[in-house]
Every structure is written in structure tokens, then in C-alpha cells.
Symmetry: C2
Subunit: 111 residues, 2 copies
């Protein structure tokens, strides 16, 4: 029996950011490619692309600069806005999971 928690941000009732999207952006930053990033976190390119589009549309911010074709086939990189958003989200997530786990253990396991 394990505890799970999820944290996400919504705009107009639609999710725009959460742990999965965080990992996706981080991986894009690491590889400079949506394709490689999607492989890294085990989702399809299709899904990654959908995520990015939805995020950008909902937030009204450009998060990922993309180029199809060119050197090495092209690639993608994060905008400054994306980095800022990512940084804040990381701060938000920090400590929450640990707190939840601790509480769960106290209540369901100890006694």
C-alpha cells in the first residue's frame, strides 16, 4: 500500500502543467530535441507534441522554439519564459511529496 500524489496547474479547467510536462521540458532542455526527450521519458512524440501545444495555447506563452529541418534535422529549445515557469514549478513541488509520504507513514503504517 503506497501513497501517491499529483500536483498540476489548470487554466480554464484544462491542465497546463504537472510533473509529466515538467520532465518533458527538462528533457527537451537536455537533448535539444522533442523526439529524444519523448523517448527519454517514455511517451510518444505525438503525445509530447500535444502536451507542448496545449501548454502554449493555454498559457498564451511560447515555451519551445522549434525548427524542422536544417543542421542535424532541426531541434527544439526552451524559451526564457519556459525556464522561468519550470523553475517556479520546481519550487512548488519541492517538499510536498516528502510531507505527504511522512504523513502517510505516520497515519497508516506506524500504528
Amino acid at each position: 500500500m503506497v501513497i501517491k500524489s499529483k500536483l498540476w496547474i489548470e487554466v480554464e479547467g484544462e491542465p497546463v502543467f504537472g510533473r509529466g510536462r515538467r520532465f518533458l521540458l527538462q528533457a527537451i532542455d537536455k537533448y535539444g530535441s522533442i523526439n529524444k526527450a519523448a523517448k527519454e521519458i517514455n511517451i510518444s512524440y505525438r503525445k509530447a507534441w500535444s502536451y507542448i501545444n496545449a501548454m502554449e495555447q493555454r498559457l498564451g506563452i511560447r515555451l519551445v522554439e522549434r525548427q524542422a529541418g536544417g543542421k542535424n534535422g532541426g531541434g527544439a529549445r526552451l524559451t526564457e519564459e519556459a525556464r522561468d515557469f519550470l523553475k517556479r514549478y520546481e519550487m512548488l513541488e519541492e517538499g510536498i511529496r516528502e510531507m505527504v509520504d511522512k504523513k502517510f507513514n505516520e497515519i497508516f503504517c506506524k500504528k
Copy 2:
């Protein structure tokens, strides 16, 4: 832009308890009927029934005593185990949402 959080308990990778199931059990306790409880929280009886079955099977605990037919057509009531589980879950949930909201405001709204 709003923050959302979710908390649930899994057994063998399958969800067995969360906020929705909590409301369901509480409503069953209140009305003595799965049917009425489902209406109260706006889910179909079918879904409520599936939730209960899955919970009981995964936890290996009987949570809801049911009777079809009889006085008033029958009904359902929580077992002691269900009440205990419910109580612990309420303790677990308590304070977490508030903490998340506070953190979110500090990070995303203040500045």
C-alpha cells in the same frame, strides 16, 4: 490559473482510495444507500458500485454491507473497517491542500 492537487492510495499499482471514494463512503454512511449516495456526488450507480468492488477486492477488506430487497428495498452501510480507513484518510488529507495553495500563491502570484 489555479493549482490542483490529488492524493490517493494504491495497492499493486491500482488506485484504492482517494477523494472521490472518500466522498462516496461518507455519502453511503449518510444515506444508507449506494444509490442515493451516488446521486449525491453526481456519479452513476454503476460507477459507485465499481469503486466499492475494486476497493474491497484490492484491500481485501469488506467496506460496505449491502442488502438487496427487504425493508425500503434494502440498503448499504459501512463496516467498522471502512470507518477506520475513512478516518485515517481524512487525517492524511487534512492540511495538505491548504499547504499547496499557500505555496502556489507565494510562488506564482505574489511576485
